[in-house]
Each structure stands twice: as structure tokens, then as C-alpha cells.
Amino acid sequence: MTYIAKPKVHHPALLKNAVGLIRRDYEGSITTLCAGCGHDSITAAIIQAFWELSIEPHKVAKLSGIGCSSKTPAYFLREAHGFNGVHGRMPALVAGANAANRDIIYIGVSGDGDSLSIGLGQLCHAIRRNVNVLYILENNGVYGLTKGQFSASADPGSLNKKGEANTMEAIDGCLLALTLGATFVGRGFSGDKAQLVPMLKAGLAHNGFAFIDVISPCVTFNDHEGSTKSYAYTRERNVEVVQADFVAPAAAITAQYDPGTVRNVLLHDGSWVRLRKIEEGYDPTDRDQTYAYIRERQKAGEVATGLLYLSPDSSDLHEQLNTVATPLVQLPYADLCPGSAELEKLQRRFR
């Protein structure tokens, strides 16, 4: 908390981070989204997170699908490569890019239509592969860009602008991710930057697929009375379960909290995530407890937020594939081609 609040104190806009960049250096082109769109707040949080982590923008690749949410990578990290692919297929693009160059920091931005409708299969399989990417699902319960149809995350009974009720079960991205064995599962709210920024940082540091579902109200099509993804509804119903602080590799951990309520998880890059459990007895490293807890809250009409689950041991795509440490794109051709002599030799097999 304090950690991320600090900058605010001394004129954040001008403050330089470890690589000598100010926050402005992490911005992109100006948004074309509706004024008040939740997605823009998430963009701001992303900018904040990268700046605080002092990551060189060009070491990052930002990918997305299609939708209002998927447009946002254009609005941050202007010095990073961006890829706005086709609808619902960003997970495949990230998996391929990551396979080719494991040294890049990948961030994927998607929407609930992009991820849970047309892209559901790809999302699920990217989770299974544990591709090393921070995956942000900007969740507003509707297809914003096509003018407000219900998405698969719309809750049963939730009303659209015309007053029609959604009849189908909602897909809860967090429950789904846990069921598929995700190694990092969080939920945020575009309106709560203080909670979101450290979660994003932990997700960037996580070695594997970091899934964060961010409730991000669509002011134009789903912010009305009767919507369960509106600002009002979310403010009222969201319960912060786990408060995550991110502690960079260097920094020491000063256990200034009652140990019973704190848990520090070491990430493979040497950084720490300090999970402060608001809820007594909640263990954010227990997949099944987490699942059960989210369901309980759901049944109580509440939305559990925070870094809900973090697997202490996560082996990403490359560990599973046992690929070399050097990014494949950097291997010299000489290491890849067996040469003519070997070709002559191996053909004995075909005689």
C-alpha cells in the first residue's frame, strides 16, 4: 500500500524511475474510448506499474485481440512493439511470440467477449500451457465495440440497456482459470488503482500465465441500473480478500504486520509478493480453498477481489518444453543447421 502510494507524495509526474524515465515515457497515443470507460483507468494502472518496475518499454511486447479493451495497448508504452491481432486469438499469438523470444516481457489485453466468447478455447489452452504473460481481461459484461450485446460474463438476471435480462450462467474467469490449473489468479476493479497496480506488478514478475480479471464498467452500454457490471454495483459489492504488495528483488521485507495475517511468496526473479490476508484463515496458495471462497462470496452476491491465488511453484511453457535459456530468435544459424556432411550421413537411413 504505502509502497505504491509513495510516489504520489513528491510530484509523481516528474519523478524518474531506476532507468531514468518519467511516467509520461510509459504512455501511448491518446485514447479513443468513451470518456469514463473503465478500460482507460486500467491503462493508467498499467502505465503506473511499468513505471514503478522501471522496465525498459522496448523490452515489452503488448498484444491484444479485437474490442474496445483490445484497443488499449495503443494507449500505453509507445516504445514497445504492439500487436492488435484478430478477435479472440491473442493467446495463440502470445504463445508463439513467447516460444520464439522468452526474454521479452509479454502483456496481453483482452475483453470478456474476446476472451470468454470467441476466444474461450484459446484462453483455456494458454492457461494450460502456462505461457509467461500478464493477461488482463477487461471485463464489462458486454461487447462494447459492437454496441452492448451481453457477453459470456454477464450475470444471470443482469439487465441490458433495453431492460432485457440475461438468462445464461455467467463464466467467471477466475473460477475457470483455477479449474484449469492457473498459477496466478487475480481480480481487480478499474476503479481501484491502489489495489490494481501492485497486482499488475506481481503478474509481470510471475513466471507463467498471470490471469487478472478486471471489472471495467462500460459507461455507454452497461453502467445502468440493473447491470451487475456498473460502477455503482461493483463499488458496492466488491470485497477485497487479499491485499497484495509487490516487493522488488532488492528491497528487504520488513514484517510490519501481525505474521498470522501476512504471507510472503518469493517469485522466481527474486521479487516478493506480500499477501496481506484481509480474511482470517484464507490461504491464497490453496487452489481449492480459493475456488470455494470465490463461490461463497458469489452466492452472497459479492465479488471477491485481490490477488486470489498464487502458486508458489509454477513452471512455464519453456520449462515444460525444456528449451534453451537463450531466446530461440538469438540462436546463430550455425547452431541450427546440421550441414551437408551430416545430410549425406543421415540419408543412409533412407537406403
Binding site: 522496448h58 512493439h81 500487436f83 484478430v86 508463439g96 541450427l336
Partner: protein, 598 residues
Amino acid sequence: MDRVNNFAFKIATANGTGSASSNGLIMQTIFRMGVPVTGKNVFPSNIQGLPTWYEIRVSRQGYTARTPQFDLMVAMNPATYQKDILELRSGGWLLYDSTWPLDPLLSRPDVTYLGIPLAEMCNAQFAAVRERILMKNIAYAGALCALLDMDTSVIRALLTEKFSRKPALMDSNQKAVDIGYDFAKANFPCPLPIRLEPMDETRDSILIDGNTAAALGCVYAGATVGAWYPITPATSLMEAFKGFCQKYRQEPDTNRNRYAILQAEDELAAVGMVIGASWAGARAFTPTSGPGISLMTEFIGLAYYAEVPVVIFDVQRTGPSTGMPTRTQQGDLMLCAYASHGDTRHICLYPADPREAFECAVASFDLAERFQTPVFVLSDLDIGMNDWMVSKLTWDDSYRPDRGKVLSAAELDHVKTFHRYLDVDGDGVPYRTLPGVHPNGAYFTRGSGHNRFGVYTEDGDEYVEVLDRIDRKIQSAARAVPAPFLRPAPGAKVGLVTVGGCHAACTEALDLLAAEGVAIDYMRVRGFPFGDDIRAFLDSHAVNFVVEQNRDGQLRSLLMLETGVPIDKLESVRYYGGFPMSAHHVIAAVKARLEKAA
């Protein structure tokens, strides 16, 4: 007609009985005797119990096309006796398992029946059930040694190599060979008029299938990322790639992999992974077949418009839809050339045999990166999965991958603002940058409207400028793809054009026609877009036969659209029943037309 080293026989068995190893043994034995040989596996779309055949053609002239008529039938599958017997030429031989009596109804007066109690003898010799089944196959191989005069020392040598570490298996196999051999010697006039004589025609050749050759090409081209979803007949390409990588792509000390194979959840994801990997700078590819291409259609349009290199192997099978997954066809020529909505056009390569599959694989990566666009290698089930005799693969160690216009960090130091889609050199090919290399290299890749600077646009003129440049770029590739294979015939008035695997049938047919005094110029297209040489060939003949394996004359369509040659110059010759094309298909059509003309 002299049948020595010039005949064809067919082995009929059931799926899953393990006849493959026996058939391979026969193939290799003939090959090592220096005699040109080709094998075609005709298998069902299931795993066990349905009829399957293996056709072996011995041709001292080195013809590799399929022959629909056989001199000898090894009829091991009662379920197909009736059908099999009918495929024998008059005067042919039928070898069957006489453990059970043959249904008299099936007898043909013009065929000689050779009954061998294979099951009986194997049951007597071998204990285990599975072994009995397997050895029956080896036993008929033994019988063929006697009947066809196959060199027993060669077959023994092969068994020794194969089972060097399993002496027990070596013995039982040798025993099985002897059982068949001895029985045939004792009971039939061996050898038959159709027989083998050692030659020296295979010294510089290999027996290889196209998928294995293409996989080797990917390894040699330096491909590091392969993404795929299993589908017959493309599956073995990725399996072969994996095999070679395990041998050649291990980091010495760490035993870690210098490659990544991603088994995707479907073809949409597979091609998406290839696009992502290529975008990040790797040489990446995906092997698939028709249904996969259909599913990749949307992503292919993205790669075309956003200008990302992609290599796709389409090992074609019989369509439409699921069609006949274990039969061959050339049904995706049109789809691959223009895949996706909107105005799109793609580079295609058309190998004619496994050797060219190897060469095309290498070329495809160079073309994809040089032109920053999808490249299709259109092989088919016949080329991809059957054993072809081709001259040895060769490699020029001076080869260096053509990565195309990729700006290095050093170069980017001097670039103030990088413009992704600007036609700097006037050749229609813009410069690319890779993620993670340099702050100046950043740009936004998108399938939505963008201008030459890579900026999002909804301005008509800016949009058109980029789309027109891409069109010029692809057209310019006509000079970079492999030139057509040409074989002029002195005094020929008509031409014959074909593509891919039909080459074998066409060249054999043209030889036979030439022998009858019919001279025809020959051209086989090897790359798309078509260059001027192709148009010139067509123009220079009043009639051009267009030979291909699909219903709608897709090659002819491409020729019409791309060269503007009028349809009345193009005489379509099509066979699309699922088997590889035979010379007689071509000869019949050509004669019919020429007689009509006369």
C-alpha cells in the same frame, strides 16, 4: 514384353496386422539390388481391421507413377479377394494363404493361383498369437524372394541391421523368410517371368516420403518454432521434424532444446502461434491439410495484410470437408492462392516429389521472410506419405537464411522515426523490426486499416496506398519463386501443363506418346504467382493440356486468372478419385482430344 525389372505387384492385408515392416523390407531389398522401385500405401481412415494395400512398382526406367493394373497380387485379406483379383492383368499371378480353401467363385481362368499355407506353417513354427500374425507377413516376403528372384543375401543383411540388438527377433524373422522362400521354391516354377535382376540404378538415390523430406528442409532452413494440430496426412511431417530436432537441436552441455514444438488446440491456434513466433523473429511453420487451411483462413488474411511471414505446409487430401482423409488430391490450389476475405493473394510452392518437398521447405522460409507474407507449400498425401525413390538430397553449406529487410539494433540507432509500411526501396517491400531490439523500432502491428507509417487510419487514400503496395510486392514474388520445369519436345505443336505430383504420370505419359510419334511440350509450374515464362509457354501453343487432380480444374482457373490466357487454349485433364494419377489417365485424355481434332 520383357517383364524383368519392369512390373508391379500389390499386397492386400488388413489395417493393424503389421504388414508395414514386411512391405518395407521388400521395398528396401529391391532398392538395394539397384533396381528403381516405388511404393504406395493405400490405407483406410481407421486404425485397425479395415482393408489396406501396398502397391510396389518396379521400373528399370525409373517411372514412379501409379499403375492401376498389377502382375502379381499378394491377397492376404479374404475380405477383399474379390476386388483384388479383378485388379490383376490377364496372365497375372495371385498369391494367397491356402490354409483355408479359396472360394471357387473367385477363380479367374486367366490368372495363376499360388497357394501357400502361411498361417498353417507360421502357427506350427511360432507360439505367440501376435508373433504368428506378424511372421505371416514376413513369410510372404520370403515367398516373393523366390518368386521374384529377390536377393536373399540382401534381405538377410537388412534383417541383421534392423535387429542387430534383438537376436531373437532376427531369428524368427529369418525363419519366417525361409518358410516362405522354401515353400515357393518347392512348389512353384521360380522365378516367375516377372522378376528382378540386379542393376546399378539406385546408387545416388534414396527412398523417402515427402513429409520426412519437408521436415528435414525445415531443420536445415533453421526453423525453430513449429506449431501444429494433428491431421492426416500432415501429422508425420511434424513427427519427423521432432525426430530430427531431438538429434540435431540439443544444446551440448545442457541437453536443452534449440527448438519449440507447440501442439496447439486447433489449427486456428497453430497458425496464430506461427504468426506470433514469426512476428517475434523466429522461423516458424505449421503443417496441416485442407480442413486446417479452411480454419486458418481468417488468420492468413491478418498475416497478409499486417505483413507477417508465415510458412504453411498443406499436405492435401481428398475434399471437400472431411472427404477421404487417407486419399490424395490437389483440391486446395484455389483456396491457398486467394485464402481469406477481402483482396488477398498468396505465394505458393508446388513440390512434385519428396526431393522438391525438401527444397521447397527451405525456399518457403526465405520467401516468407523476404516478402513478409504467408507462403504455402502444397504437397499432397501421395508425395507426403508414400515412399518415393528420388536422387539424394544435397546441401550447400554456403547457404544463409534470407531474413529479408529486418533492421538491426545498430541500424535502428540511426533511424529517427521508423515507418513500418513505407516503400523505402520502391520494391514494395517495407522494413521490419523485431520486438525487444531497440526503442526506435517500436510500431503497432494491426489487421485494421493503417497507413504507410503504420498508423491506424480510416482514410481511403492512405488505405489504398498500402493495399496497392502489398499487391505490387506479391506480384514481384513471381520472379522469386521457382521457375517452371520445362521439357520441350522437338516439333511439338501442343503443350501440356501440370503441377505437383502429377509430374510422374505426365512425364511417363509423354514418353509413351513420344514413342507413338506424338510430340508435346511439357511445363510443370512450381510457384505462384506465375511469371511471364508461364504465359509465354501457354501462348506458344494452340492447345495446352492442363493436367491436375481435382474436379474443378483449379490449376486451369489459376492459369486463366493470372495469365489471361483464354479458356479455349486450355484443355482440362482431371482425375480426382483419390489415388495418385497414372500415365494412362493422361494418355487417354490426350489421344481423345487429338483424335477429335484430327
